[in-house]
Symmetry: C2
Subunit: 209 residues, 2 copies
């Protein structure tokens, strides 16, 4: 296999959802710019590029978000049977205050004008584009020696208010972002006994389900 | 920058949403397996891996889908003002019959059991995971000299029926997939005057919107 493909696969397989490995060192502005350029180069429905990136350094905003997430952690814990609740209690679910930066990625349905090519039959196609940008960002960060941790223990309305988002704009991800000591070899949730990955052949079908 | 990062960026910037460049040659099974492994290595909410991959070689299925897409093309065209309709008429929107393979990627909300960690507050988090897998697949394919074209001119119910998907399973993407002659330097929609990309700084914010 050629060098380029090998490097892409290495990065894809090394990438982790990071919680505990952030170094907290200041983020290099040039690295951040390259990573955001990678996100911005993602495919999007009708070339609408419906994403925005909010770089969050303000410690007060991050603290407010952390408090909210901690509350949602308790909400989820209360839904679990006893054995799972005990296991969940030991899991780390975010690195909000340890990562060098927060990065919120949003979806703007008005981007691209009134006739977005490819969205008339599938309203969610714009959301999908934003996620493609997030994965580009995730892989670029990994290749740079940075880590990304996607936090999803929050209510969209809270983040919309916290960051003064326009009513039409939807927060899709709060990402913890910055240099890391290393990427774990095995995903946290598997290493800590929450869930095991399934083998690829179990999810591949031919011609029909 | 290190070689690995340069290769990842090269792939991210070279990647295109392919319509007209498929070679139609038979798909190499080992390459396909590597590309699917890359998709399957994507991050997912609660390690739920809620995706399935349906590899479509059957010419009848592909023909039925093409007819449906052609109908939806007319539906969209009828919504456009005259000038845009004329431009749209010249655009190619799919490579369904020319690509070596079709690949449908689906979302199964039941994957991961009753307590998916990280999904209690954001129901769409599982959809987002499927899109991360699609972008991994897209970049791996690009690095392999293959192309990917995402077709979204279809109704989900049609694809669900065509592929005998269970009622709970949602089709997220029909991808045209296979070797290509080259990746275009500029996205089709920009080259053909449909829409221009916006510069990165217009979508970057600091701390608040």
């Amino acid at each position: 296999m050629q060098t380029i493909a090998a490097s892409v696969y290495d990065t894809i397989f090394a990438r982790r959802d990071v919680r505990g490995e952030f170094t907290s060192e200041p983020a290099d502005a040039q690295v951040l710019d390259r990573i955001l350029s990678a996100a911005h180069a993602a495919p999007s429905v009708g070339l609408s590029q419906p994403w925005d990136f909010i770089v969050i350094e303000d410690p007060d905003i991050r603290r407010d978000f952390w408090v909210h997430v901690d509350g949602e952690r308790s909400v989820f814990a209360a839904t679990l049977p006893a054995e799972r609740a005990t296991l969940f209690d030991r899991l780390r679910i975010e690195g909000i205050l340890d990562a060098s930066l927060g990065l919120v990625v949003t979806y703007d349905p008005d981007r691209g004008g009134p006739h977005v090519l490819g969205r008339h039959a599938i309203a969610d196609a714009g959301l999908y584009s934003v996620c493609l940008a997030i994965e580009n960002l995730w892989l670029a960060a990994t290749a740079e020696g940075w880590g990304v941790g996607w936090v999803s223990f929050y209510r969209e309305r809270f983040v919309r208010d916290l960051l003064s988002l326009p009513a039409r704009v939807r927060p899709i991800a709060w990402l913890c972002l910055g240099p890391v000591t290393h990427q774990q070899a095995v995903p946290d949730l598997e290493r800590q006994g929450w869930r095991r990955r399934v083998p690829l052949p179990t999810v591949v079908h031919h011609n029909r389900w």
